[in-house]
Amino acid sequence: MGDEMESLDDFRARARTWLATNMTRRAGAVDAEDLMERSSQMQANLFDAGFAGIAFPREYGGAGLTLEHQEVFAQEAAPYEMPIAYVVSIGMLAPTLLDNGSEVLKKRHLPRMLRGEEVWIQLLSEPSGGSDMAGALTRATRDGDSWVLSGSKIWSSGAFTADYGMCLARTDWDAPKHRGLSMFAVPLQGTPGLTIEPIREANGNAEFCQEFFDDVVLPGENLIGSENAGWSVAQSLLLHERNAVAGVGYGVGLIGGDAEEGETTFGGPTVAELIRLARVRGVSDEGPIRQLIAEAYVQSIVSSQLGQRVMTGMRVGTYKFQWGSLPKLGLGVDVPRLAEIAVAVAGDEGVIWEGDADPAEPSLFLLGCRAVSISGGSNEIQRNIVSERLLGLPREPSFDRDLPFNEVVRNRGKFTGSSA
């Protein structure tokens, strides 16, 4: 890469022109119909124009630019519909593979991921525990050059259609919990021994799945990072996940939507929609309702400004990459609050509808809003990260950190409260 890097201004001008001729301006909420197909076409176009994986090295299919360029692109892309279906694969999994994968895996998969031909998801949480991820019980056992996977993962979105899952499994049961885990690339389509079941959520949707592994055989090269170093790969994945959810890092720009216009990416109402709801009910001149609408407006502005600040801090080096936890926590607090505001403003119209009409949006949003404050590390986990890693306060005491994992499992149900 002897040639000089494109300046931010030149890049911005090129992105602006390209977006204006090749992408469609957003109108209202993202239409879920044909989302994957539309995203796939858009991602391919982005790739061909050199706007996919902007901060990824060229040898892996990226544009070889910087996160600053990615941020500029996101600013320019805000008014357009973007391939939001790739936020997980490109914003979270691809950077994790870039950080941790072998050359073989990176060369084979990253270009396909960036082009949108191959979609990856994460397989981290298990039915036995979400926040305590290092307590994973899914097992991977060596068998010659291969690994044999058995157990179950849960809360993975889009496992039905995805091509690969990044799966955290226990490879050493005698090591302490964080030191006996390894990460694997698991093919999801037509894999013998793998069953995928949808989970129906409170709002009626089925975005998430549970996977059952019944002696699934994986080639040795599917190990990501080294054996028993899976926890650091998982940490890297969680970091990219928080950043992507918070709208910072490698995936920024894939979501589209202008927060300053009050547009949200979580299905919540825009400020314009709240105003419409208030007018429908004839309460738009009531003081308390107006205060709630203004609160939602202020929150949408401030949340976008905070995201930009954290991005800037990461770029100039004042903030470590872990600072993505701060806007992630912000969303986890704000989105449920926005749902409360929506039902307050909508009143009866938000919870009752006529005949066979679609359920009222505020009711669906309220039932689904907790996904934001629980997934990707719950608000409580983010608060631990913020206080311990960002501010350096003492860590939570751990009762199982140094015990062989076998004994931790055996000790369950006999908690005495004494720290190990």
Partner: protein
């Protein structure tokens, strides 16, 4: 509290901080609590030397900004003032300087701006009135044409540094709209009643105009055309106020987290209790958000952005509410020592509470946001 400052701006922040630490430490603030003015005019001249009040003043009149964006530069000082809950009429002097630089007559600019810049003259903005304060629509003070000039009748309230001011910028109502006047203190028919505030060193007063006679040359800008000027002055005031509050909460958050690591209970630093750590995490989110929105407002105002009226009100609404929540919780985290006169927390609690109210409460500005959104 921008993360990207130029070398000049970094140096400016550093000299401002060092000056405040040596010339206006909190012990000095406590001494000034017992004085009538709440600050020392000799000290204010030194502040003028540092360039605090010249940022909005054109170079031709002895001033100049560091970056060509005077408000972004002034925000640096305001943040430092907040960190030490410092005394001095920084906000009103700069609001008037910005107003005169933008709309003053050649004579007013030549006469007043250099002296505001050096600190020898103090000016303040007389805007709010009881009933419907901090809003152009609430201006009822009447300026009636009389001969070649005007007669002013009415009362302005919550005028910062009123008793110390040498000049008042008065927003009045004339037949065809709002008109602003530059009125020297001591003009016949102008009566200042000093007041005190919850803040130990910040004074506000009321200014009554009993048919005060002013020449036409006292008009600032166009007769009947001052609404946009008043709005810009309010934006600058709100921005500087938010920046000061941001400095205050930043400092309080800093020393609260330090204290929590030193204070032991049940054999552990209280900073190790999850119930407290989680509150600290929320506070960092609020502090950083407050910095982000305060900076966003200042940049928008300097750039004359179309959404500046909304962004500055969003900043005031957010900073006003969260600053008080943060202060209250920091008092709680300190425990008993936090409610004593001896501890400095109450100095900060006082400042942010006054700032929450003055120039319009968060609730007031949220209502204004609704109007701007045409709800």
């Amino acid at each position: 509290m921008r993360l990207e400052l130029s070398e000049d701006q970094e140096f400016f922040r550093e000299t401002t901080r060092r000056f405040l630490e040596s010339e206006a430490p909190l012990t000095r603030v406590r001494e000034l609590a017992d004085t009538a003015a709440g600050f020392d005019r000799g000290w204010w001249l030194k502040a003028g030397e540092l360039g605090w009040t010249g940022l909005f003043v054109p170079e031709a009149h002895g001033g100049g900004s560091l970056s060509g964006r005077p408000l972004v530069d002034a925000v640096i000082v305001a943040e430092e003032l907040g960190r030490l809950v410092a005394p001095g009429p920084f906000l009103p002097v700069n609001v008037v300087a910005a107003a005169l630089a933008a709309s003053g007559s050649d004579e007013q600019r030549a006469e007043v701006l250099p002296r505001l810049g050096t600190g020898e003259m103090i000016a303040t903005w007389a805007f709010a009135e009881t009933g419907s304060p901090w809003d152009s629509g609430g201006v009822g003070l009447v300026a009636e044409p009389a001969g070649d000039g005007f007669t002013l009748t009415g009362t302005k309230v919550w005028v910062e540094a009123a008793a110390e001011a040498d000049q008042f910028l008065v927003t009045a109502r004339t037949e065809d709209g709002l008109t602003q006047f530059l009125v020297p203190a001591g003009t016949d028919g102008v009566v200042v009643t000093p007041g005190r505030s919850m803040d130990l060193v910040r004074r506000y007063g009321s200014v009554r105009f009993d048919g005060a006679q002013l020449p036409a040359s006292a008009v600032v800008g166009d007769v009947g055309g001052a609404a946009a000027d008043a709005e810009r002055q309010l934006q600058i005031a709100l921005s500087l106020q938010c920046a000061e509050t941001v400095g205050a909460i930043d400092r309080v958050f800093e020393f609260t987290v330090e204290y929590m690591q030193e204070r032991f209970a049940f054999g552990r630093p209280i900073a190790s209790f999850q119930a407290l750590k989680h509150r600290v995490a929320d506070m960092l989110l609020w502090v950083e958000s407050a910095k982000a929105t305060s900076d966003g407002a200042a940049e928008a105002i300097d750039a004359g952005a179309a959404d500046a009226p909304l962004l500055v009100r969003a900043a005031k609404a957010y900073v006003g509410v969260k600053s008080l929540e943060i202060l209250q919780d920091c008092v709680q985290l300190h425990g008993g020592i936090g409610v004593t006169w001896e501890h400095d927390l109450h100095l900060y609690l006082r400042r942010v509470t006054v700032n929450r109210a003055v120039y319009g409460t968060p609730e007031h500005h949220q209502e204004r946001i609704c109007r701007l959104l045409e709800i």
